[in-house]
Symmetry: C2
Subunit: 342 residues, 2 copies
C-alpha cells in the first residue's frame, strides 16, 4: 500500500488556473450533443420498490420497458480564428473517454486546447459505453464490463518497463529511462480510466458512423483502440475522411477493405520503446501491414516514429506526455502539408 | 414502437453550429481534472484470458488487485471578462451528468454557456459513478446500477402529465399544457441519461467535499439529487459556500444540521405544475421544511416559484426548457443582489 500512497501524494499538486501569460481562447461557439443509439426492449423481469433518494418516497422500479442505448457523446469547440479547413475529430482509446485530450494528468493543456489554439474546430467524444455516453442495462450486451487495476497501465502503456515494473525493487516503480510521461501524476491518470466492454465494437462503429455523417468531411485523430475504429469507419466513409492521424493504433482496420482508404492521407505515429515491448511491437506490425495494403492500392501512409525525428521518451499516452505540445506541432504541420490548414 | 420512432424522428433536427450573430466566448483558460477517490483492494477472484481488441493478442485479465474508485470529474471554463466574484459550481441530478448544463436537447446554449457569458468561472462536474467519473468494479458498492426506461422521465419530470402520460390516447404522448420542455427533442434528452447507483451517497459527498476544498469559496448551483448533496456539503463547509442555488432539490439536507447554513444566502427554485404532482409536492415540502430550519437559526432562504414571477411551463429540467435563458437571468440577478457579481 505504501507505493500507492506515494503516488497519491506525488500526484496531488496542480492548479486548474493556467499561467496569466497564456493567450485567451476565443470561441465562436461551444456545446455538446449525443448521437446514434437505438431503443431496445427489456421484458420478463420482476418489479421492485426502491427509495431513490435517502428520505424520499418509496417508488416502483420496473426494469422492463424500452431503453435508449448505444448513443455516444460529443463536445465541440469552434475557434473564432479558424485555420483548420475541416473539423478535427479526436477519438480516445480503450478504457478511456474524451478526457484523454482535455488536460494532462499534471494539469498542463491537452491536445484539445492546443488544437483549438491552432485554429481547429475540434470535436472530442466519448464512444458508446464510455463516460458520458452511458451504458446499457444488463443482458443488452453479451459481456460484463472490464476494469483495469491501478498498476495495469503503468506496466502496459510503456510508463514502467513492462510486466512487473510496478512492483520491482521492493515497492519502487521502475519507470522507463527518459520517460516523458508525467509519472508524478500517475494517480490522476488512473482517475480518468473508466470500465469498458469487449463486445460492443459494432455499436461503437455505428455511432462513429453517425457522427461522421453529421459533422464530416473532417480530419480524424484517433488513439489506440480508437485508431482501429477510425480505420473501420474510414473504410465505410472514405469520401468523408480527408485525413487520418492514427496515434499508436491498436489494432488497424480490415486488410481486405484497406484499398478504400487509397485517397485518404494517413499518418501513423508511434512513441518510444515500441520495439522493446512485445505488445506494442505486435500492434505496430498489424498497423504497418495495413499501411502496406493501403499503399498497394495506391494510397499514402506516413509513418512517424517519434524517436527518429528527435522526440523521445513517449509512452502510449503521447497526448499527455511532457512533450505533448511538440507532438501536436508535428501533427499540425503535417496536416498543413496536406493543404488542410489555411 | 410507433411512438418511439415518432420521438426519434422529431428529435434529430439540430445543428451544432450556433448563429453567427452570437458574441464569441473568450476564455482565459479551460480544462478538466478528476478529484477525490481512493484505492481499494479486490482479491480471491479467478484469472481469465481475453482478447482486448479483435485481432489483438490474447492477454490475461486478473480481476484481483488495487483499483482507483470514487473519484469525480470536473471541467472548468474561466472567462476573460470575469464578473462573478467567486467560482460557480454546477452539480447535476440523479441519473445525469454535467451534460445537463452544456446544451439543451434541441441544441440551444445551456446554462454553462450562459453563465460563462455572464462572466462566471464555471465548474461543471460528473459526480462519483456518473459519466466521466467512471464506476467501481463489482462488489465494491453494495448494489447494482439502475436504469431509467425511455418513458420514465417523460412521466416523472413533469414533461408529460404524470403516470401513464407516455402511453395515453393510444400511443400519443400527453404533454403538460404550456410545457416549456423541448419535447420534440425528448430522445436527445434520454441519450443524456446514464445509469446510477443507489448506495453511493457517502462517496459522492466525499468527492464533492474534496472539490469544494480545492476550488472554493464559491457559489453552488445544484439540481434535483445534486441539491440534496449541496446542502449536505454546505453543512460540512459552511465557510466555503457563499451562496447556494437549489433548483428543485430532491431532497434537502439534514434538518438537525441546517443551522450550519445560517450565513449562506440560499435560493430555492421551483418550476411549474409542482403542486399538482405528488412526487414534486413531496420533495418541495421537504425542501421548505429545511428552509424553515435554516431560517429558525437566523438564516436567509429565498423561495422562487417561477410561475409566481411570470415564468411558466417549466419541467423538472429547467435548465433545458425553452425559457432557460430567462431563468439564468433570474439566478444571475439574485446573485448580483447578494453582492456576488462585480
Amino acid at each position: 500500500m505504501r507505493r500507492v500512497i506515494l503516488a497519491l501524494v506525488l500526484g496531488c499538486a496542480f492548479s486548474p488556473v493556467p499561467a496569466a501569460s497564456v493567450e485567451p481562447i476565443v470561441l465562436r461557439g461551444m456545446g455538446s450533443f449525443h448521437i446514434g443509439g437505438r431503443v431496445v426492449e427489456v421484458s420478463g423481469k420482476p418489479v421492485r420498490e426502491i427509495v431513490r433518494q435517502p428520505g424520499g418516497p418509496l417508488t416502483k422500479l420496473d426494469p422492463n420497458g424500452q431503453y435508449m442505448v448505444e448513443q455516444m457523446y460529443v463536445q465541440y469547440f469552434l475557434p473564432q480564428r479558424r485555420t483548420g479547413r475541416l473539423p478535427l475529430l479526436m477519438w480516445h482509446g480503450g478504457g478511456l473517454t474524451g478526457v484523454t485530450y482535455e488536460t494532462t494528468p499534471d494539469g498542463r493543456e491537452g491536445w484539445l486546447n492546443l488544437f483549438i489554439r491552432k485554429g481547429w474546430d475540434t470535436y472530442v467524444s466519448d464512444a458508446v459505453e464510455r463516460g458520458r455516453a452511458g451504458f446499457a442495462p444488463p443482458d443488452v450486451w453479451p459481456s460484463e464490463p472490464t476494469f483495469l487495476t491501478f498498476q495495469d497501465p503503468f506496466e502496459r502503456f510503456r510508463i514502467g518497463d513492462g510486466p512487473g515494473s510496478w512492483n520491482r525493487d521492493a515497492g519502487m516503480h521502475k519507470v522507463l529511462p527518459g520517460s516523458a510521461f508525467p509519472v508524478e501524476a500517475y494517480d490522476n491518470y488512473m482517475k480518468q480510466q473508466v470500465p469498458r466492454w469487449l463486445s460492443t465494437d459494432d455499436a461503437i462503429v455505428a455511432a462513429y458512423l453517425a457522427l461522421v455523417d453529421k459533422v464530416c468531411p473532417c480530419v480524424l485523430l484517433a488513439h489506440s483502440q480508437g485508431g482501429a475504429f477510425s480505420f473501420k469507419v474510414a473504410e465505410q466513409r472514405p469520401d468523408k475522411i480527408k485525413a487520418l492521424v492514427a496515434v499508436e493504433s491498436a489494432t488497424a482496420g480490415n486488410l481486405g477493405k484497406a484499398a478504400a482508404l487509397k485517397d485518404i492521407p494517413i499518418m501513423m505515429m508511434f512513441g518510444d520503446y515500441v520495439a522493446e515491448h512485445p505488445r506494442w511491437r505486435t500492434f505496430k506490425k498489424i498497423d504497418l501491414e495495413y499501411a502496406d495494403a493501403v499503399r498497394a492500392a495506391g494510397g499514402s501512409v506516413d509513418v512517424i516514429n517519434l524517436p527518429e525525428i528527435g522526440i523521445k521518451g513517449n509512452s502510449h499516452m503521447l497526448m499527455m506526455d511532457k512533450n505533448n505540445a511538440e507532438i501536436a506541432d508535428v501533427i499540425h504541420k503535417r496536416l498543413a502539408g496536406k493543404n488542410l490548414v489555411e
